[in-house]
């Protein structure tokens, strides 16, 4: 794969791409230039091209759902290439494995592609320099690429990138070992606050989201899904539906074959010449359902089962010392049960996709986090090869993990094939809430034995939740190492005796990853319980937390026998309690912890959590009115996410994480009765509004040369425990179940 072959263009591409792509697990290397780059005369790899007029085309292969990946990943390439950002045009990639991983999920766009983008940028820059050197007949060492042109350093002669493109295209792509990278001090854009590429389009309503995709001859579809997971259509009557003006027909979509994976749920689609008519027609359908086996699922009963399981021994997933001996020797024991319900993603743009099946090929336009999963899912649904599935990626009106699951795309594809014309499937908000891949419900049990001073000498924690793996396999009962590694098996406290156990749970709804995933419930329990111990010991929460974490060190989970995937190579991204301590100290200082004068009814709470390889400490100021009404005047967050591409976009992600965290902590709850989800829209699945959101969130970024880590997700987990710890300080009431809105505070 890495064999250097200078005799063919394909060889050059292999050479430049081999390393980066292999690291990322890509299997296939490009055999031809991407369509988006076909107007380029010089295209040394699949991510960049230069047109004759000097325009630099950079391919964004990650999806844009608000995290700025579509801008910031190409920006790394542009910087390294010495391209003038004003003359860069971003082309959104279709789904294609030649780009490596495109699943915009897991907070890793920058982390995984920083190096790849630098390599692609450096090789393009060096080829342009070589082309200039050849033209001037001077040593390449005298040719320096500077802001879209190459300058001959001794004579001051200049040639623009457009002028050099044709000559550069004839040169061999330099070997990776020959690439010379810019120094950090030479960065032009990295570390600066460059606005997102689509900013003006967004503020003028010109940005194209999935909801805005339109192709000629397109019809609109709205689908009545089985109300219970695994339900089936027995029969349906569409007579009244067809009376609705604009409705042309109704089409049954078959139920999935377990495991459901990303397959459509099945149901009946109403086809019309506009969206509203499809919605209206659908209301007139009469469907006779077989509800299926999950009709016995009622979340209030299920909750009791999970809690009972958490009170019993489970599968040991981490063991340090001897917990039972530790408890026997403890001066005192404390225990607590925590519970977090199912949550829905509720992105502002409901699920939507356009598909056009013709001549054995299916072309889609979709707001998807994972266009390669769209290829796989649509190919399986239509029985065609995935190379015949062309997935165009629009902007996403929010994703939060929902749009990495392309069931809605497969629906559009199935309907287009059946109808022989392009189809746009539009989900309503009710569809979105009823048919999510929910964030997992979880019950946790925590127990600590403490010494005379209140320091834990034994720590037992149990986590019980239906696993995301149940989406992909039947009969899954235990959590995956990945889920357990999100704040549970990697608890960073300095404990002589620690045992972590996982209990069994079966899913009755579709379970999927949601922004920060299992970290939400694990951080809630672990960070809340730490605060419970601090107050039981009569200690300051921050001081106690630092002692609990212990001295700066690298926690070697592998040596403790833990199956810990981490989210990146452990050598590069160790579990470093020094970095965790540092963000706690920073946020304490910046928030005025222990010093700030607060009005009556206000208090601060603190929590710190490592996730997605980043270290976050959060201080929440809460105000509780005499009537028990909560407001959040201020949030302080200290962030060590390694090297940062754009401080402003990092701050915005953490500002957003505070709001997302406030939504799930204050009001997020999905329940079910007889297998049907009880919530339906923003009236009964509320999310935080302007008047409920934290009034001010201040974000402090640790300056570091550590490798880039996650940004989009890690701000969420510490928020709920920090808020609940603050509420305890005001009210004396411990919140052990979310959402807080369910509890009486006074």
């Amino acid at each position: 794969m890495n064999r250097i072959d200078n005799s063919s263009r394909r060889g050059f591409l292999r050479q430049v791409f081999g390393t980066g792509a292999l690291v990322l697990g890509a299997r296939i290397l490009p055999t031809r230039a991407l369509a988006a780059l076909e107007s380029a005369v010089f295209s040394p790899n699949v991510f960049v091209g230069v047109k004759a007029d000097g325009t630099v085309l950079i391919v964004a292969h990650r999806s844009e759902m608000g995290t700025s990946s579509r801008t910031m990943v190409p920006l790394i390439l542009a910087d390294e290439m010495e391209a003038d950002w004003k003359r860069v045009k971003i082309e959104q990639a279709i789904g294609d494995e030649k780009y490596g991983d495109q699943n915009t999920d897991g907070s890793h766009s920058v982390r995984s592609f920083f190096g790849v983008m630098q390599e692609c940028g450096a090789s393009a820059r060096q080829m342009l320099e070589q082309a200039a050197a050849n033209q001037w007949n001077v040593p390449v060492s005298q040719c320096k690429a500077t802001l879209h042109q190459v300058v001959h350093t001794s004579s001051g002669k200049k040639l623009g990138y457009g002028e050099l493109a044709a000559a550069a295209a004839k040169l061999p792509v330099p070997d990776k070992s020959k690439l010379v990278f810019k120094k950090k001090s030479e960065y032009r854009y990295i570390g600066k606050e460059i606005p997102i590429y689509d900013l003006a389009d967004i503020t003028h309503g010109k940005a194209v989201f999935g909801m805005d995709a339109k192709v000629d001859g397109m019809v609109y579809a709205s689908i009545e899904h089985p109300p219970v997971l695994g339900g089936k259509v027995l029969s349906f009557d569409d007579k009244e539906a067809l009376q609705v003006r604009g409705v042309s027909r109704a089409v049954e979509i078959p139920a999935f074959k377990p495991p459901h994976g990303f397959q459509p749920l099945g149901g009946v689609a109403v086809i019309a010449d506009n969206t509203w008519a499809a919605f209206q027609g659908r209301k007139k359908l009469k469907i006779n359902w077989d509800p299926g086996s999950n009709a016995s699922y009622t979340s209030s009963e299920y909750k009791k089962q999970l809690q009972a399981t958490a009170r019993k021994p489970g599968t040991v997933v981490r063991n340090v010392g001897d917990v039972d001996k530790g408890f026997a020797a403890a001066a005192k024991t404390l225990e607590a049960d925590y519970y977090v319900p199912h949550l829905a993603h509720a992105p502002m743009e409901p699920e939507v996709a356009v598909a056009d099946f013709r001549d054995g090929k299916c072309t889609l336009w979709a707001p998807t986090q994972n266009p390669q999963a769209v290829q796989d899912t649509v190919a399986a649904a239509l029985g065609i090869d995935k190379k015949n599935v062309i997935c165009n990626v629009t902007l996403l009106g929010g994703g939060f993990g929902r749009k990495s699951k392309p069931d809605y795309c497969a629906e559009a594809a199935i309907l287009s094939k059946q109808l022989g014309k392009p189809v746009k499937v539009v989900w309503t908000r009710e569809d979105d809430i009823h048919f999510d891949y929910y964030h997992s419900v979880a019950a946790l049990y925590m127990k600590a034995g403490v010494d005379q001073k209140g320091k834990p000498v034994a720590w037992l924690q149990r986590s019980v939740f239906p696993s995301i793996n149940s989406t992909f396999a039947e009969g899954v009962k235990l959590g995956s190492a990945g889920e357990l590694g999100m704040g549970f098996t990697d608890t960073p406290y300095d404990l002589p005796n620690l045992r972590a156990e996982n209990g069994e749970a079966i899913n009755h709804v579709r379970i999927g990853w949601l922004r920060s995933v299992a970290n939400i419930y694990h951080a809630f329990a672990v960070c809340s319980f730490a605060d419970e111990l601090a107050s039981a010991a009569g200690r300051d929460s921050k001081d106690y937390l630092l002692e609990l974490i212990g001295p700066p060190r690298l926690v070697d989970l592998k040596a403790q026998g833990v199956d810990y995937p981490n989210m990146g190579p452990i050598e590069q991204y160790p579990v470093d309690t020094g970095r965790l301590r540092k963000v706690i100290e920073l946020v304490a200082e910046k928030s005025g912890w222990g010093k700030r004068k607060l009005p009556k009814g206000h208090a601060l709470g603190i929590a710190a959590h490592r996730s997605f390889l980043s270290y976050i400490a959060t201080v929440v100021e809460v105000a509780v009115s005499p009537a028990g009404k909560i407001s959040i005047p201020r949030v302080d967050m200290a962030v060590d996410a390694g090297m940062i591409v754009n401080p402003d976009r990092v701050r915005s992600q953490f500002e957003g994480a505070a709001v997302f965290g406030a939504s799930l902590a204050l009001m997020g709850e999905i329940t079910a009765t007889a297998g049907k989800i009880d919530q339906s829209n923003f009236n009964n699945y509320p999310v935080v509004r302007m008047n409920e959101a934290p009034l001010e969130t201040r974000v402090y970024i640790v300056e570091t040369d550590a490798p880039p880590a996650g940004v989009g997700e890690p701000g969420v987990p510490p928020f709920a425990p920090a808020l609940c710890n603050a509420i305890f300080k005001v009210t004396g009431k411990r919140i052990r179940e979310l959402p807080i809105g369910r509890q009486k505070l006074v």
């Binding site: 929010g398 994480a657 009034l695």
Partner: protein, 154 residues
Amino acid sequence: MITLKINGAQRQFDGDPEMPLLWYLRDVAGLTGSKFGCGVGLCGACTVHQDGVAIRSCVTPVRGTVGKEITTIEGLGSSLNGGDHPLQKAWAALNVPQCGYCQVGQIMQAASLLKTKPKPTDKDIDDGMSGNICRCGTYQRIRAAIHMAAKEKA
């Protein structure tokens, strides 16, 4: 056949007069700046102006807008109207959007707010903007951008 006036132009529509304005704008008129978020007036993504006042186009039948001036984002800060609205400038200056989907509705709502409250307090902004949801959580910057635009206008 009914006649609508959208962004200063007359448009004829012979479809179902019960169709919400949002779907007329998006599917029929091709003005896709206004967004579908909830369909029941709970999120504000579909906000447009009717005679200068913010309304939820997802629950406003087209028949109800006859004889009224409808303004959408496409008509708010256009070259016809002398360039960007001060809110659009403030939105860009403060890098408000994340995903961007709700932002058109937020801007239209804020533009309506500034007409009645040219110098809004934080409380005015809470009252005026709490019908508009942003799931990405850009509220802090929306508030700052409204204050900035108010300052520029004054």
